[in-house]
Amino acid sequence: MLLEGFATAAQPEYLLYALLGVTLGTAVGVLPGIGPAMTVALLLPLTYTLEPTAALIIFAGIYYGGMYGGSTTSILLNTPGESASIVTALEGNKMAKAGRGAAALATAAIGSFVAGTIATVLLTLLAPAIADLAVQLGPADYVALMVVAFTTVAALLGSSPVRGLASLGLGLFIGLVGTDTLTGQQRFTLGVATMSDGIDVVVVAVGVFAVGEALYVASRLRHGPIEVIPVGGKWMTRGFWARSWKPWLRGTFIGFPIGTVPAGGADVSTFLSYAAEKKLSKRPEEFGKGAIEGVAGPEAANNAAAAGVLVPLLTLGLPTTATAAVIVAAFQSYGIQPGPLLFTNNGPMVWALIASLYIGNVMLLVLNLPLVKIWVKVLQIPRPYLYAGILLFAALGTYAVNFVVDDLIVLLVIGVIGFFMRRHGYPVAPLVVGLILGPMAEEQVRRTLQISEGKLSALVTSPFAAVAYSILVVLLVVAVVLRLRRKKSEVTV
């Protein structure tokens, strides 16, 4: 199956799409202010002219590429970056300042490659097996999985559970607008005709990510020259390999499982990997001053988690990060529902997609090591032009969905909401996940209750659902205990 996938993905046409995807992905990863979620959302309407396999190969490339590009920025730019690479910034930035930027970039890129490849192998082995099991899940089990995903994305991650849940609620509300799929009733359309089809995912995603981010950065823009640390030192020495390979492997095996379970993607895994490396290191005193292990481990964990996220995405149709949610929307725009039946119904496409991940990883290694100088140039784009460009393409991508100006009004409103959310610590990822998972969750709840003839107990009596809810309760208790303990120690300090 995978070999057939390689045969498809290795066709020159698909190789070009993969190259386009990883190049775009690295670029948006390097550039502050744009992320993979927004880029995939922006490109959604433009890819309607492409066939699904080609479009999904581009999106997968953007997704993996964004992870590589982000580390270049956090190592070379003097300011902290996107959440998943903050840990890299701790050590990588110090290394670059100490004239060892080349080694930091190399361990990040090679570590990402090693982790990405191993994690893709694990994905290849695990996904079909999980899909086979998932076929037996009933609607109540899906409801349980979605409740777990909602809770972890909104309440367990991030600093404020209340604000995460509020963000989730806003996303769920936006998802309600339009015509009810089961009864054909209009909901929350305010009598506006264009609202009866619902608010397009593209408009919402571009609004919160692009317009919201641009307005927020503009409100407190860092003026003056962009300080990029020059790349110095030797690329790879013997000590480099000796100190890097174990953290790469440890990072991979920390990152992949965390990405797989709905525990919210990359951030957690990078922190855990960093803590593990610090504990295991023979030179813990170097941490905080530029320890290469502190770059190698978290970068590997970051990429392995990104691949892990694809497991629930492809086998259950369950997105656990904002980018994954937008990719689900991409599948849906082609009339394909990711889930257990994906491997049976769209086998050739999925395997071509997975094969393209292996190919993309190799391309990314080349793009990010020998060609890193080019990305350093991209990093120096003057910010007024960068954010003006983001706004222009946000407006263009939104307008290109339906060619109606009404969508631009919605874009602006959601952009302003995204701006205030950033100002007040409301995470935007739960909003996007809620928007896309909400309608699916509602359908499954109603299907469950239809089968059970309205008995609410049907939602929890299936063994799988019962186990899922029990695990969730345990997670919540642990989280509360940890939070209380942290508060206590803060008080005593």
């Binding site: 604000r163 989730l168 910010r383 263009l396 610590g425």
Partner: protein, 163 residues
């Protein structure tokens, strides 16, 4: 500090208000409510979630727990919010969406890029040609590369620009 608090109350209030709207408007959704769950149940749940979290955010604010503003590479934590810039960008976006149907996409897009870049500190005589070239280029790529025609407006009938 007080301004931040007022804003935070307002946003929490907005969340709760959306929740109240959801609950009230959900009662008007037609649908039978026998033993099967209809189109109203889920909206009620979402409305309750919004009201509860909105109020909880207000309470948290009152107890001094303010939300942490997001960090980003290009954000300077030491400067005060530049509301004028935000207002100008919103105005530029409004101008863009009004102008599309009046004078066509290329002009509206050039104005959006130029306006935004200038607002953010670019030199006007450098931003202007970039804006014009970029807008015309996108117009041509859309018309000939993707086969999607953006409204040409004042360029209607002009070769290459009117797809």
């Amino acid at each position: 500090m007080i301004a931040a608090k007022v804003e935070e109350y307002a946003f929490g209030g907005l969340v709760a208000a959306v929740g109240v709207f959801t609950l009230v408007d959900a009662t008007t959704i037609a649908g039978r409510d026998d033993n099967v769950v209809g189109p109203r149940a889920f909206p009620y749940a979402v409305g309750i979630l919004l009201v509860v979290t909105g109020i909880a955010a207000i309470i948290a604010t009152a107890r001094g727990k303010l939300g942490q503003a997001e960090e980003a590479e290009d954000v300077d934590e030491n400067v005060r919010t530049d509301w004028l810039t935000v207002a100008k960008l919103v105005a530029v976006l409004i101008a863009h969406l009004v102008l599309i149907d009046l004078v066509g996409w290329p002009v509206a897009a050039a104005l959006l890029f130029f306006g935004a870049a200038w607002t953010l500190g670019a030199t006007w005589w450098r931003a202007l040609p970039i804006a014009v070239v970029l807008a015309l280029l996108v117009q041509v790529v859309f018309a000939y590369g993707l086969g999607l025609s953006l409204p040409a407006g004042i360029f209607e009938g002009v070769p290459f620009l009117d797809g």
